[in-house]
């Protein structure tokens, strides 16, 4: 393989940052949630790249676990979004700002 591992890591950083920006800039709860998935995937990429760098499978196993956790998280998160939407008729996170001063 000729591609330097650092390339993958930098790509991972860029994707992670894009996911972060998605979380920070979008107001639709669903899109925010997708951005979080993007962040998770960016991290997964880094983990798999680390696995390749060190020549063992620990990174891949960790990425696998992260996918499982992501699946669980998506299930619960989407359920929360659905019930939030039911109460407020809106998926805009800025409107759910009751917990403040």
């Amino acid at each position: 393989m000729r591609t330097p591992i650092s390339f993958f890591l930098l790509l991972s950083a860029v994707l992670f940052t894009l996911g972060t920006l998605g979380v920070l800039l979008r107001r639709n709860a669903l899109v925010i949630f997708m951005s979080i998935e993007l962040q998770l995937n960016a991290v997964n990429l880094a983990l798999v790249a680390f696995s390749r760098q060190w020549g063992n499978l620990n990174g891949q196993v960790l990425a696998f676990f992260s996918m499982v956790v992501a699946a669980a998280e998506v299930v619960v998160g989407l359920a929360i979004i659905v019930s939030l939407y039911r109460k407020r008729r809106s998926a805009d996170v800025d409107e759910a700002s009751l917990l403040r001063w």
């Binding site: 972060t20 920070l24 800039l25 996170v93 800025d94 700002s97 403040r100 001063w101």
Partner: protein
Amino acid sequence: MVIGADLPAINSAMPIWIVPLFPLTGALVLLLTGRRWRGLLSGWFASFLVGASFVSTIVLLLDFLGGDGEAALVNRLYQWVAAGSFSVDVAFRVDPLALVMALTVSGVATLIHIYSIDYMRGDPRFARFFAYLNLFVFFMLVLVLANNFLLLFVGWEGVGLCSYLLIGFWFERKPAADAAKKAFIVTRIGDSAFLIGIVFIWLRFQSLDFEVVFARAPELAAGTATVLALLLFAGAVGKSAQLPLHTWLPDAMEGPTPVSALIHAATMVTAGVYLVVRAHPIFEASEVALTIVATVGIVTAIYAGLSAIGQDDIKRMLAYSTISQLGFMFFGAGMGAYSAAIFLLVAHAFFKAMLFLGAGSVMHGLRGETDMMRMGGLRRAMPLTFWTWVIGWLAMAGIPPLSGFFAKDQVVASASENGRLWFWIAALVGSLLTAVYMSRATFMTFFGRPRSEQKPHDAPPRMGLALVVLAAAAAFGGILGLSAVNGILPAFLEPVFGAAEEPHGPLTVLALALASSAVAVVGIGIAYLVYGSGRIDWVALRSRFAGAKRASQRGFYVDDVYTGGLVAPAKLGSAFLAYVFDRRVLDGAVNGLGRIIGAFAGRGRAVQTGRVRSYALAVLLGVVGVLSYLVVRF
């Protein structure tokens, strides 16, 4: 380690703690269930328990007399305080002195309980009154039966508390509530000195047990002994209402009359005398302290006697007379005549309790009237009260063969026997005053023509019973101490005080007794001339000597000096602290701090926008910050 454990700790056949347990039980039961008691039952219950206490004290006495001649029986219940080397037991002690005190306390208390059933009948807080009385008896018995200074102090403070509660029993009346507070605070001055004295005793002897302290007291240097003795005496002065801490006792008469009889005549106020007598080894180590005790005693006796002559309120008159008699007791103790002082204490408990109960009976018959100017001629309307009063009066004035004569004669004579002629003369003056004010009160109350429109009635049966028994005790109590050397009481108390010496003063016993009786007769004569004979218009005399009368009635303005000189400045200072310093400076600082924090928080809370994206931005800020730190570090 239990200090003093190596000392003889004999267990009496009957545990001593049973004696105070009875009234404690009564107090607890009555306090917890007071509302449920109906009618007079709670009064009988309380009286029965105190009576049981009296009976068990008699059992203790027989126990003691039948013992193998030990000086004291001691019950150590358990180790109470253990802090480093400081160790105090809860321990009770029975010796002749404690027995005499406990018998007097429980005996008189029983009678006064029975008397109170009639006196307090119909009071909305009837059961609570008896709860307090029982509690008082408990603490008083702890006081006299304690085997160390700390336990004594517990009883000491406990009776102070009960005194407060009972003086202010009718707390809806402001004078009663004020008098209760005054009694508590003024005695507290002496108590703090007493407490300091206890600490000194510990520092000096590493023990508070009576055996240890008194066994080693003769080793004390004169200076140390003086300091210790005077600290203890200061406590006694407060408790026994001696100059200069006497002002609370006349005001304490706001309490119900049985309380005045029990606490402020027969028992609690004599605790000071008991303390001095109990701690006599410490006092004897210092000639100066003894002289001070005697001087304070005799000055108080004369001062209070002069004040008593000017009183128109029958209870205040009796209060001043109590102060005066307590002065005599301290005088006797200061002269080293301890058994005479205790004898006077016992006799005084009888006749003064009787006189107070008599006064209560008069008030009861006149619907609460206490002003002697509105009495007069009551001897026909209330014969029982009158005749018992006469016995108390003559006993107190010192007419032989009543108990007061023997007791006071021995106290007065002790001065002569010590060869201190001026003290003896002063004591005779005090006796004269006693005879005068008592006779004045008798003539004003029971003789002459009635000055009240009310139709008085005599004492109801239970009150009468207490009056008769106490009058009998006052009349025949003298049997206890016919002679200062080998009377019953002096002989019984000998193990505590040592054998009395044969008198060696300039005058013989007979001459001294004659002098005392003569003084009493003269005093009664003077009072008869002015108040009883009808030859002198004493009402006119009052207005002629209005100034002197007023001074005497107001206790020579001691209280007013305190009010103006101490209480008013203290109130002013407190007001400054409360309304200026506290409000401006302390509250200002606290409020200012709160306002500063509030202002910061007001700014800071704006961070909490409630918008989840702002929080996420903050998280990112933190991540970038931490990462930059890590990157820069490597």
